[in-house]
């Protein structure tokens, strides 16, 4: 992928900027592991906002896209290890969706490190901490994604063009009329 298609590394506001991660955690494994990390007082970066779902298979690709669109710098999905799904095979469905999403995200210029799928069992509180800290480090290196502001910029850039197209269309219809 060529450099100019990369979204992100927006230079402004870097001083106070902190990466924001939306995490979709399976109720049975990773969410429980995150609770265990809490009970065991395993301190980790405060950048993650966890959304509980019943299964990693519930994570609609649109949730991931919506999180990026609303301002997430990274999205993390946590599910049960393969073979351990509480619902037999929901995590396999998650893999398929993640593969597809990865291609879409690459096409949009969103780096691979911004989107992560991890298998974390209910006893792996330590892994929750490790994955979150590692992801925060990687996102710090990548810088803000800043999709909402990009959208605004693109809207601003497109507005005159849209107006021109609309005016042209109006003119054409006036002629036709």
């Amino acid at each position: 992928m060529s450099a100019h298609t990369q979204v992100g590394a927006v230079p402004a506001a870097v001083g106070t900027w902190e990466p924001r991660i939306v995490a979709f955690f399976c109720n049975w494994c990773t969410y429980t592991a995150a609770d265990l990390a809490g009970v065991s007082r395993m301190k980790h970066a405060p950048n993650v906002r966890i959304i509980r779902v019943m299964c990693s298979g519930r994570v609609d690709p649109q949730f991931v896209l919506e999180a990026f669109a609303k301002g997430a710098d990274g999205v993390l999905i946590g599910g049960c290890h393969l073979g351990d799904c509480h619902y037999v095979e929901g995590n396999y469905k998650a893999i398929r969706r993640v593969q597809m999403l990865r291609r879409i995200l690459r096409g949009m210029g969103i780096q691979d490190d911004r989107f992560r799928l991890e298998w974390i069992s209910a006893s792996e509180g330590e892994k929750v901490k490790r994955v979150i800290n590692d992801m925060v480090d990687k996102l710090r290196a990548l810088g803000p994604l800043g999709l909402p502001r990009r959208f605004q910029e693109w809207d601003r850039e497109l507005a005159p063009l849209e107006q021109a197209v609309e005016a042209e269309a109006k003119e054409a219809s006036a002629h036709a009329g």
Binding site: P46, R49, A67, D84
Partner: protein, 669 residues
């Protein structure tokens, strides 16, 4: 966006919990509550010291009445801990319990962060996400399904036996499945039990025969659970009965066949006696085996291996009970609840080569010595060396495969006590000098410390230090022909060499080798070391994360007999409470199809692991059977037209939660 289900705009109450200092120590709860007050739809926002306390719950109920609240947010601990509590409180206030949303400020914020600023900001984000989400909550009803009034107990050790008897005595149907040919488990191998020194068999065998004879217990030994389907209240179980090559209803346990076996000498290692004695291809595990049935070892029996034996055993059996063509049989049963009591395995001492197990004949494991001490054991209760001599000096090495970062990090809890017991018994049997090599003496329990005190006065030697090695390399005449234990005596501060005749390794307790497969079969979790994971380490120690499945005994972690029995009783009580209710209440988090929006594309149908989705050919629409749906939401995520919804996890709810997380700039605080 669909209507929220309430009349007009929601009236939200936010309750931020201090949890003493657990949350308030890190999160500025006052700031969070003040911030929440300015969020859209929030009518009341408060902070309180303990929301889960009675006054805390009454606060919610009063505010529901006084402020006509129709949505409740409790920002406290994990929903896995207290969601039920606050749903109840919400319902007590006259509101549908599913109008509650919890925010996890404790496990997800205050306990994992140590900076006040970021923790408070994170809390505000999470509360705001909940405010956005809760507006979309709908009134739901709990699902109730009938429960089958029977219980499956897996594992026939002391824990499984006790759980099965407790339930059967309460009038419940119990299926007890044991992998080995007899019930009794490890306890049946022990000679005496600490600290009272009652004979293990004397207290266990009456319970074993009670299991065998109980009208409410179906006992399947030499059997394994091979299939588990269904869910709490209605598990469907498949049990495989391995062939004994004996017709169970005909065999009376007369043992004539064993005497008549073509193998005149017993020459196959006897598993029950830890290989210290030999048995024939046809055998009974031990004299009090329950059920009293012989069985064939297919690896050893000439007829089963080659089909070319004179079958003298069959001739000897006047009841014609021997059947060489027997094959595995399968039983299908339905149970409402399951208790797993699959026990432990002893640490394999050959993993530590420096202790010489398997290399030096007179290095024994504790379990082997249990059999040596036992009157029905391989030596008839004589503690002798492999060459038949009586030992004059015996050393017991503690913590073999316990408290060791090279093998298992945990304390196995029972080894100190059973080492003391063996020290006493071996001394009693041989009058030998006994040494205990220990790291720390751990004797917590009723009468345990007193037992240790008694051993101290009996003249048993205690040397504090982890043994470096056991060797037969002698350096002085008195070491010649002996095993030498090299150990640092940390209380004296010297390295000592102690010549011994016999070394006993106090092996630790481990998860069974197949605990991962068993865990997968029953859809439960293991902790990192491989023991089955309890739902809560303090408040739900016999529950698992899978409703209706309970754990008891050493499959959950190392424990002694009294604790295993207590836990088995607890698991039985939990199972009883469950099935006596007659029905189970399930989370209403099932998926449903909005028929007008369904295009009939069928993409959801192959996704469902429970075959809960069918295609209605006449309407050309998909339909979900609510009774079969387990609420994973996979179909919801896949539906191209968005016509499948999942209660409690609707798209609107999750999208709003995401929106709320990032609405920081849009809200005027």
């Amino acid at each position: 966006m669909r209507d929220s289900g309430a009349n007009g705009t929601p009236r939200i109450g936010v309750f931020v919990c201090h949890c003493g200092t657990n949350i308030a120590g890190i999160v500025d709860v006052k700031a969070v509550a003040e911030y929440a007050a300015g969020l859209p739809g929030v009518v009341v926002s408060r902070e309180y010291k303990y929301m889960c306390s009675d006054p805390g719950q009454e606060l919610i109920q009063r505010d529901i009445r006084d402020h006509r609240l129709d949505r409740i947010i409790v920002a406290s601990c994990s929903p896995l801990l207290h969601e039920h509590t606050f749903r109840e409180a919400t319902a007590q206030g006259g509101l549908n319990p599913y109008f509650l949303q919890m925010v996890n400020l404790r496990e997800n914020v205050s306990w994992v962060n140590d900076e006040r600023g970021p923790a408070t900001e994170k809390s505000k984000d999470l509360v705001r996400a909940a405010v956005y989400r809760v507006a979309h909550h709908k009134a739901l009803q709990q699902r109730t399904v009938p429960i089958t009034a029977s219980v499956l107990v897996v594992g026939g050790g002391i824990a499984g036996i006790h759980a099965a008897l407790t339930l059967a005595n309460a009038g419940k149907k119990v299926y007890l499945v044991e992998r080995e040919p007899t019930i009794g488990g490890h306890m049946a191998m022990f000679d005496k039990t600490f600290p009272t020194l009652d004979c293990a068999a004397c207290i266990l065998t009456p319970k074993m025969s009670a299991v065998k004879n109980h009208p409410n217990i179906t006992l399947w030994t030499y059997s394994e659970v091979v299939g588990v389907d269904g869910f709490v209240g209605n598990f469907k179980i498949k049990v495989k009965q391995k062939p004994r090559y004996i017709k169970e209803d005909l065999c009376v346990g007369c043992l004539e066949c064993i005497a008549a076996c073509i193998h005149k000498e017993a020459r196959f290692p006897d598993g029950f006696n830890q290989g210290l004695s030999k048995r024939k291809p046809i055998y009974i595990p031990f004299p009090q085996a329950t059920p009293q049935l012989v069985l064939f070892d297919p690896e050893a029996c000439i007829q089963l291996k080659s089909g070319r034996c004179r079958q003298s055993c069959a001739e000897a059996c006047d009841r014609k009970a021997i059947d060489f063509r027997q094959i595995a049989e399968f039983e299908d049963i339905e149970v409402g609840s399951i208790i797993l009591a699959t026990g432990f395995q002893a640490f394999d001492a050959s993993r530590l080569p420096y202790y010489g197990y398997g290399r030096y004949p007179n290095v024994y494991t504790a379990l082997e010595v249990e059999r040596l001490v036992n009157a029905s054991g391989p030596t008839g209760g004589e503690v002798v060396l492999r060459d038949g001599r009586k030992p004059t000096a015996v050393g017991i090495i503690h913590c073999v495969g316990s408290r060791d970062e090279k093998t298992n990090g945990w304390c196995s809890r029972v080894c100190c006590m059973y080492s003391l017991k063996l020290a006493h018994l071996v001394r009693e049997h041989t009058d030998a000098t006994i040494y205990n090599f220990y790291i720390d003496m751990r004797t917590p329990g009723k009468g345990y410390e007193e037992f240790y005190d008694k051993l101290l006065t009996e003249g048993v030697h205690f040397i504090r230090g982890r043994v470096a090695e056991v060797t037969d390399w002698s350096r002085s005449p008195e070491e010649a022909g002996k095993l030498v234990v090299r150990v640092e005596d940390t209380l004296v501060g010297t390295v000592r060499r102690i010549p011994l005749d016999m070394v006993i390794l106090a092996v630790g307790l481990e998860p069974r080798a197949d605990s991962q497969e068993v865990r997968r079969l029953f859809n439960i979790s293991c902790s990192t070391e491989g023991f089955f994971l309890e739902r809560h380490p303090k408040l739900a120690p016999v529950n698992t994360f899978t409703d209706g499945i309970f754990i008891a005994g050493a499959c959950q972690g190392p424990r002694d007999i009294p604790d295993a029995v207590a836990q088995a009783g607890a698991a039985a009580a939990e199972a009883l409470a469950l099935i006596d209710a007659g029905h189970v209440e399930l989370e209403p988090n099932t998926a449903f199809i909005v028929e007008v929006e369904c295009s009939g594309c069928k993409s959801c149908i192959p996704l469902c692991p429970y075959s809960a989705i069918t295609f209605l050919a006449d309407k050309k629409k998909a339909a979900i059977n609510e009774a079969l749906c387990k609420g994973c939401g996979t179909c919801v995520a896949a539906c191209p037209s968005g016509s499948i919804r999942q209660n409690l996890f609707e798209d609107d709810e999750i999208f709003s939660e995401i929106e709320g997380l990032f609405a920081r700039d849009a809200v005027v605080a």
